[in-house]
């Protein structure tokens, strides 16, 4: 370590940060690849079939084969499109999905940038993702892509409000924007995690997370039977793969945020012996895995919502519910039962 520090001189902080970033992004990209495999397997078993099982042992090389295949496919840039924006859009979609990981803590010490405004940063950076969707739809110069991007953008911003209110609930309970502090505020067993005092907000956050990532049953923007594939209908080859990666990276991000803010992060399930032996990182991964499994389960179970139903759920159900619970928690904090809520 000393030797390396001398070797790089004043650039050492940058090099060291870079190494840590690669240590986060590398496993994340592998997780994204294998989430696509897990999705096909899980949905397969839910439909009483096996799922991919030919490429490699039990199909474990399937995501790699998919990646290589997409790499060899032609990237078509439609003649009427705005070429620069068309190529820029997938990059603008994946960059925020990854950059949000800069402030995600994996344990009290294991965090790249422990910034005080962590949650605010995540809110800001994940909102940037919608630009990629709008630009992709508009730059394609195709009716389906345009309609898909409008639908998708309106849906994303609608659910972002309910999500924001749910996050305000977390802030009231934790009294901090710092993600490490938020998890520390939930120390103890399963009943001191925030999902219990903020139960309506937890449910709203979970469902809004599914809608936010355009996953089934909220996938009208990509509804293949109505508008073929929505905003990325004109994309092929690697340009399509980048959109695909961004969608799954966003899924993992939302699942991790749910685990950190409502499911106690790295805190063990119960605060006594056999549970406390398991390292905190493993607990966090188990919770993220559980939320991701819920995402896949929803997709295998529910029929697609109609667009007017989606908007009604977002504006007329989720926003009032979170608003009322926000005032309820705030009011309770003024009474002597306030300790129940944080």
């Amino acid at each position: 370590m000393e030797f390396l520090q001398n070797l790089f001189g004043f650039t050492w902080p940058a090099v060291w940060s870079l190494a840590k970033i690669i240590a986060i992004v590398g496993p994340l990209m592998i997780a994204v690849a294998y989430l696509t495999y897990a999705e096909r397997k899980v949905i397969g078993y839910m439909q009483v079939r096996i799922g991919p099982n030919r490429v490699g042992f039990k199909g474990l090389l399937q995501p790699i084969a998919d990646g290589l295949k997409l790499m060899m496919k032609e990237i078509i840039i439609p003649s009427g499109s705005n070429k620069f924006l068309f190529v820029l859009a997938p990059v603008l979609t994946i960059a925020p999905a990854l950059a949000a990981w800069a402030v995600i803590p994996f344990s009290p010490e294991l965090v790249l940038a422990n910034v005080d405004a962590g949650l605010l940063y995540i809110m800001a950076i994940t909102s940037m993702g919608v630009y990629g969707v709008i630009i992709a739809g508009w730059a394609s110069n195709s009716k389906y892509a345009f309609l898909g991007s409008l639908r998708s953008a309106a849906q994303i911003v609608s659910y972002e409000i309910a999500m924001g209110f749910a996050l305000v609930g977390v802030l009231m309970a934790a009294q901090s924007l710092n993600l490490v502090d938020i998890v520390k505020g939930q120390a103890g067993g399963v009943f001191s995690w925030y999902w219990l005092p903020l139960l309506p907000m937890f449910i709203v956050y979970l469902i809004a997370g599914v809608a936010e990532t355009n996953r089934a049953p909220f996938d009208v923007a990509e509804g293949e039977s109505e508008i073929v594939a929505g905003f990325h209908v004109e994309y092929s080859g690697m340009a399509f793969a980048v959109f695909f990666l961004a969608e799954y990276a966003n899924m993992i991000l939302i699942a991790t945020l749910t685990a950190l803010m409502f499911l106690g992060g790295w805190n063990p399930l119960f605060d006594f012996a056999p549970f406390t032996w398991v390292p905190g990182f493993v607990w966090l991964m188990l919770k993220v895995g559980f939320v991701l499994f819920l995402f896949l389960w929803f997709r295998a179970t529910f029929p697609r919502y109609r667009y007017d139903q989606i908007m009604r759920l977002g504006w007329k159900v989720f926003i009032p519910v979170t608003l009322i619970w926000l005032l309820f928690v705030g009011g309770m904090m003024q009474t002597r039962y306030g300790y129940l809520f944080h």
Binding site: S142, L150, G237
Partner: protein
Amino acid sequence: MLENYFPVLLFVLIGLAVGVGPMVLGWLLAPNHPDSEKLSPYECGFEAFEDARMKFDVRYYLVAILFILFDLEIAFLFPWAIVLEEIGMFGFLAMALFLGILVVGFVYEWMKGALEWE
């Protein structure tokens, strides 16, 4: 404090690189034989009737405006939520008043039918 944000900046750059890298790789490895039919917009096999930059429903515009209003509201709620313990009952009632005014606006737009999609 501010130096904490340097890794964040670096991370944004890596995020962009993860987007650009595969695209360049795909462009290098994949075949590239464009022709006019292949590059025409996909409309389920039909020729495009009209320009894709068409008129669209005003509701999308309404949703965008409502989003700006509510996002601003959330921006006001963030600092309030963090210090709620210190500002106590008075702070809570002040925010309740603010939310009350916004709820009047929300009820108005609801009754006006701005949230209807049929």
